[in-house]
């Protein structure tokens, strides 16, 4: 039996007689003696070993059959999906003035009207809920809590219909956290509020320089106070956006959280991601510290370093697992404040990538969004395909000004995956 094309083999420096096998398709990992690798080549394994390695996804009956299965992976996700997810951009207004905000000059006093909110409810309840087990809304902005009445209006109506049809309903907030008080949480929880994703960009000094209030005053203390007050009422995820120059200071934030009682039992997960450089058309002209591609060497080092710092303090973070870009996913949509539909929050407001409206429904977008762009010889031969499926279309757009072709992440995974796998094993993720 041949090795799966999605099996990576990593040498173990402290044990030269063994290697780690890792499947990018099943995420199984095993340490094997080097002679096992030779026995795989010679088809000389015992029955027990063969079964074990096949069950884990390291051996396959046929590499061609495995490839056929992968080619159908995204279609299978779309056919069998029971959950519809909508990111709802309630406004493009904000009480903060973040230096790097990717919405930049698109922001303004733009709010979803009551009529558009009602049209959105119709769009969900009359069409997309057919054959679904669950609906998940992510209220987004700008700052979604500046539109609290619209959150209540939408969630009340959809929740009532979902309940009648036996469909699970819940929503999360992607919020800057400055307005998330216990009173707000108590008001929203009965309507299906499940969790809040809140951004803290490192320790106070760094965070306040990146994410001040519009007045220029720092927002760190307000956000931390709110997190402390609500973390026992609702799940809180902490996210942070780092740059090359400031990422080494982020562990100070983790220590600060621990010191202030915001321990892993109070915080659902922590994840730090790099700030990407948006087009000059959108971000503030003086922000140039964004990451331009995943191939930047510092980024590989930073992502492994920060993940280790999070895990070693006992916080949960994102697992290493197969993932499909939301653009490829049929049951995932972004609704702009004016009712227009997009496939990714990064594309909101770029008319070329509008895929319909809450009135017209979702229109065909295969060509404009390069769906299935990963079905080419190079990607199909790549062991990282299950983690990538063509990568992030938005990042491709930022990098090259177009979506023609894939956003290849091979170099990034070559430099990081072995260490991510070692972390997953070490911390039992």
């Amino acid at each position: 039996m041949p090795l799966s094309r999605y099996c990576k083999i990593y040498r173990i420096p402290e044990n030269p007689k063994q290697a780690t096998l890792f499947s990018t398709l099943t995420t199984a990992a095993a340490d094997v003696a080097l002679e096992v690798l030779q026995d795989i080549e010679k088809d000389n394994l015992s029955k027990v070993e063969k079964k074990m390695l096949t069950d884990l996804g390291f051996l396959v009956k046929s590499r061609e059959a495995e490839l056929r299965e992968l080619l159908g992976y995204v279609d299978e996700v779309n056919t069998e999906s029971g959950i519809f997810t909508a990111i709802v951009v309630l406004n493009l207004d904000c009480n903060l003035g973040c230096t790097y905000c990717y919405e930049g000059k698109r922001k303004g006093k733009h709010y979803m009207s009551a009529d558009t909110a009602d049209d959105f409810v119709d769009f969900i309840t009359s069409g997309v809920l057919r054959n679904k087990d669950a609906i998940n809304l992510i209220f987004y902005g700008g700052e979604p809590l500046l539109s609290i009445d619209t959150i209540v209006r939408i969630s009340k109506d959809i929740r009532a219909v979902a309940k009648k049809r036996g469909i699970a309903f819940g929503f999360t907030l992607t919020t800057n956290g400055t307005l998330l008080t216990p009173q707000i949480v108590k008001k929203l929880k009965p309507l299906g509020f499940r969790s809040a994703s809140i951004t803290l960009d490192g320790p106070k000094k760094v965070h306040d320089s990146f994410r001040p209030f519009k007045s220029g005053k720092g927002s760190f203390d307000t956000i931390v106070r709110n997190v402390k007050n609500v973390c026992s009422l609702v799940n809180v995820h902490i996210g942070g956006n780092y740059t090359r120059d400031r990422h080494r200071e982020f562990p100070q934030l983790l220590d600060y959280l621990l010191k202030n009682g915001l321990c892993p039992d109070k915080i659902s997960s922590v994840e730090f991601d790099p700030v990407f450089q948006e087009s000059k058309k959108f971000v503030t002209p003086d922000f140039h510290d964004g990451c331009k591609s995943m191939g930047e060497p510092w980024l590989c080092e930073a992502s492994v370093f920060l993940r280790e710092e999070i895990l070693k303090r006992g916080f949960l973070t994102q697992k290493i697992e197969p993932a499909v870009c939301a653009i490829e996913h049929r049951d995932h949509i972004v609704v702009n404040y004016d009712g227009t539909l997009y496939k990714c929050p990064g594309l909101v407001g770029r008319k070329k990538f509008c895929v319909g409206s809450v009135k017209s429904g979702i229109l065909d977008h295969h060509k404009t969004h390069e769906l299935g762009n990963w079905k080419n010889k190079e990607c199909l031969a790549c062991a990282y395909l299950p983690f990538c499926f063509g990568g992030c279309r938005y990042m491709k757009l930022l990098q090259d000004g177009n979506m023609n072709g894939v956003n290849c992440r091979k170099e990034y995974f070559d430099k990081t995956l072995a260490q991510f796998v070692a972390q997953d094993i070490k911390y039992d993720l």
Binding site: S81, C94, N241, A326
Partner: protein
């Protein structure tokens, strides 16, 4: 047959293979995975990601 350690690691007699992480169980064949409920559960486990990294959050 394999031996099972306290942590659930499976070791062969000769300890040539140590499973560190079981991962998602591989489907044997498509034909065998016909039970609707089982299929749905497996597919739900497949992650959808907004992009390679999370987008920077709105200010």
């Amino acid at each position: 047959m394999g031996l099972y350690s306290k942590k659930g690691e499976v070791r062969t007699m000769a300890k040539r293979i140590t499973v560190k992480k079981k991962g998602t169980k591989k489907k044997a064949t498509k034909k065998k995975a016909t039970k609707k409920k089982a299929t749905k559960k497996a597919v739900k486990a497949k992650a959808i990601r907004c992009c390679a990294f999370s987008l920077v959050k709105p200010g």
